[in-house]
Every structure is written in C-alpha cells, then in structure tokens.
Assembly symmetry: C2
Homo-oligomer: 225 residues x 2
C-alpha cells in the first residue's frame, strides 16, 4: 500500500464517521447524543462520531465510536451508511468528510454514559433535539428521512424491540418514527398479513387486558440498499 502512487492533485482529507443511533425510550423516538468535551463546539451536543483509523473499515469505525463515546451496552441491530457529508467548510478544522451511518438499538439500550473525550451522553428526542454542533442537524434530518423510508420497506421496526413484544408496542414504534397516529385495526391487519410474526404466550401490562406476545418468524430479513 504505497501512497507514492497517488497523483499529486489527490486531496488528502480527514475521513470521519458519524452515527445517528435510534432507540425507543418512554414511548418516544430518541437519538443518542454526546456532549462534546473539546473544541470546536465544546459543550454542544453532537452525534457520536470521529475519525476512521488506518486500516479500519467504515462500519467498524462507526461501531467503535458508538462504544467508546457512549458506553452503550447493547449491539446495534441495524447499521447502515446513508449519506456522505463532504462540504468544504463543514468543519473549521479542515476538509473533513463524514460518512454518516444510521443505527438502530433495541429497547433496553437506555443506560449510557459519556466516554472518550465527551462530557456525557444521553438519549434525547429525535424529533425535537437540542441545538447540534457542526452540520449534525442536517445529518439527523436525513437520518430520520431514511429511517422512515426503511420502516415501510424492511421490517426495521422489529429491531427496536426485544425478542418478544406486543402488537401495541410495535405500533408504538411505527407511530414514534412516523410521528403520527395509526389506526389500530388497519395496523394489525397489515403486519399480521405479512406473515413475519408468530404468537407465543401471554403477558400482563400494568393495567388493562393483557396483550398477546409475538416473536419474529425465522425468515423475514432486512433487505439491502
């Protein structure tokens, strides 16, 4: 691997990844944010991210940043590159190109603490986040758009839930992501007709009639692109 072969006009740039990691918390769609501990934008909220190490694949870098910056204890159920932000002046430190990734974490991944060079980490409202550093609001916007698209195509909603879940819980995931109410009967008809869900035992919630528990069928995978 000799960089001497690179032509002289080749721009050497900083290569970074940023991760918009989503999870459900308190019936709401949340995104994982870190409070920056360094300049620029010290003390501002930002998406977890950082520079790709030499010899490290892009998705590996995304996973590493998730782990070291935020100490989430669960593995992402979905990780996908969705856009590359390369505007010349997007970062005051120089030409830094960021390959943005979308991650989905299951419910239960709510305990986070800051790690690395951050002051802290928290799951905050995805639809109404605080002011974000750099162009991270634009990244988050696009991540939300992609997440909404994926929801219809793939059965990405299941990745937000534990192995067994109720239909009202699943509907809650859809409503949180799409940011609107859905009709209960039409929703059940639609997801059950896909044949990707299997009933199991039963369960009681705090109040009201207990809900049937479901489990994802053996097939039913998340397609590509």
């Amino acid at each position: 691997m000799s960089d001497l072969l690179l032509p002289p006009q080749a721009t050497q740039v900083g290569l970074a990844v940023d991760v918009a990691a989503f999870a459900m918390h308190a019936g709401e769609l949340r995104v994982l944010l870190v409070q920056r501990g360094e300049l620029p934008h010290a003390r501002d909220w930002a998406l977890p991210g950082g520079f790709v190490h030499p010899g490290e694949e892009l998705h590996e870098a995304a996973l590493r940043e998730l782990r070291t910056e935020t100490t989430v204890e669960l593995e992402p159920r979905h990780l996908e590159q969705f856009f590359t932000f390369g505007e010349v002046n997007r970062d005051p430190r120089g030409r830094i190109v960021s390959v943005a990734h979308l991650a989905v974490l299951p419910a239960g991944a709510v305990e986070v603490s800051g790690g690395g060079h951050t002051l802290g980490a928290a799951w905050l409202s995805a639809h109404d986040p605080p002011r974000l550093a750099f162009d991270h609001q634009a990244i988050l916007d696009r991540a939300l758009g992609r997440l909404q698209l994926r929801l219809e195509y793939a059965n990405l909603a299941l990745e937000f839930l534990p192995d067994t879940f109720t239909l009202p819980e699943l509907q809650g995931v859809f409503e949180a992501i799409l940011n609107r109410k859905l009709d209960k009967r039409n929703f059940r008809k639609r997801v059950l007709s896909q044949g990707a869900l299997l009933p199991s035992g039963e369960r009681r919630s705090g109040v009201g009639r207990p809900a049937q528990l479901y489990r994802r069928a053996k097939n039913a995978r998340t397609p590509a692109l």
Copy 2:
C-alpha cells in the same frame, strides 16, 4: 483552515468520486465508461472518476470528471450522490474512499471521446457491461438499483429525453431501466394522470402512425433524498 488541529489518529485518505452516468442509446440503457490509460487496471473499462481537488465540492468534482475524462457535450440533467465505497483494500494504491454519484444525461449525449488520461470513452450496455476495474461493477449495480427506485418516485425518466418526446419513447425509457416490458395502455393512463405532461404538435416516425409529441409541464420537479 489549519490541518494542525486534526488529532493524530485521523486517517488521511485519498478522496475520490466516481460517476455512473446513464443515457438512452439505440433503445437501450447505456452507461458511460472510459478505458483506463494508466496503472492500475490499464486498458480496462471503468466508471469515470478521480480525485477531488482541494477546495472542490463533491458534486463539482463529479461534474469535472465527467467533462474532462469523456468530453460529453451535454450537461447532466440529474446528479446525485448515492453511496460511498470505502473498503480498505478496494484500491491497490492505498486507502481511497470514493463517493459514487449517479448522473442522467439526455438522449443526444452519445458522442463521447476520451480525454485526460483515458484511452477512450464509450456508452456501453448498462445491464451487460464489460469487465470493470476495481469494484466498479459493484458501484454500477448499486447505481442501477438506485436508478430504478428513483424512476418510480421522481419523474426522472423525463431527464433521459429531449424537450419534446412521444409516449412510446417515454415508455421505452421505463422499460430499458426496469429491464422489463410494460403494458401500453396502463402506462399511458398512469403517466397522463399525473398531469405533468402537455401535448404539442405532431411527428412522424420512420414507419407507422405518427405519435403525439409531449412536453413536460412547468411544475413537476425532481424531489430530494
């Protein structure tokens, strides 16, 4: 813009763009390819592309590569980033990250000649291309997938045609991209009901009954994402 602020573990990588530029030719979907004049992969076919210059935006680099490597005389009607290929060993020269772009050129953009460091350029079959250099077959596959998706959403098909066109021509664009036949009556019903097309004069083809010419309505734009 001082790169001295970059932390030491920041990977400096080569930043490149590659362009999958599509156009219709002889009733077939073609992709613009260049024959490489330099190592590695000399004399192999490849997507036009190259390194981003300092201070140059990604889409500017994509346009420049199109122009200098292939001497196409027409402007792209659509240009969109669709995926970033950053695998560690995708290029023997070192860590080179390529932001792949999808371009659409109108019919008539068929005269191309090699430029820059290439031996030549040609519009070749998009669905059955020759062996390609690097990971360019993977890039092309993904570009085709994205193009097919975009076709349904946006009215991207119009970008393949001159200002005035016939409905059979438009149907030919759809069929070439989707790689399957469509029903004539259902097709006409669908596109005319969108209200994005306006009739104008008439026209004779070589043989058979002349077809009505259409023009795109004033509104009807290509949406984002």
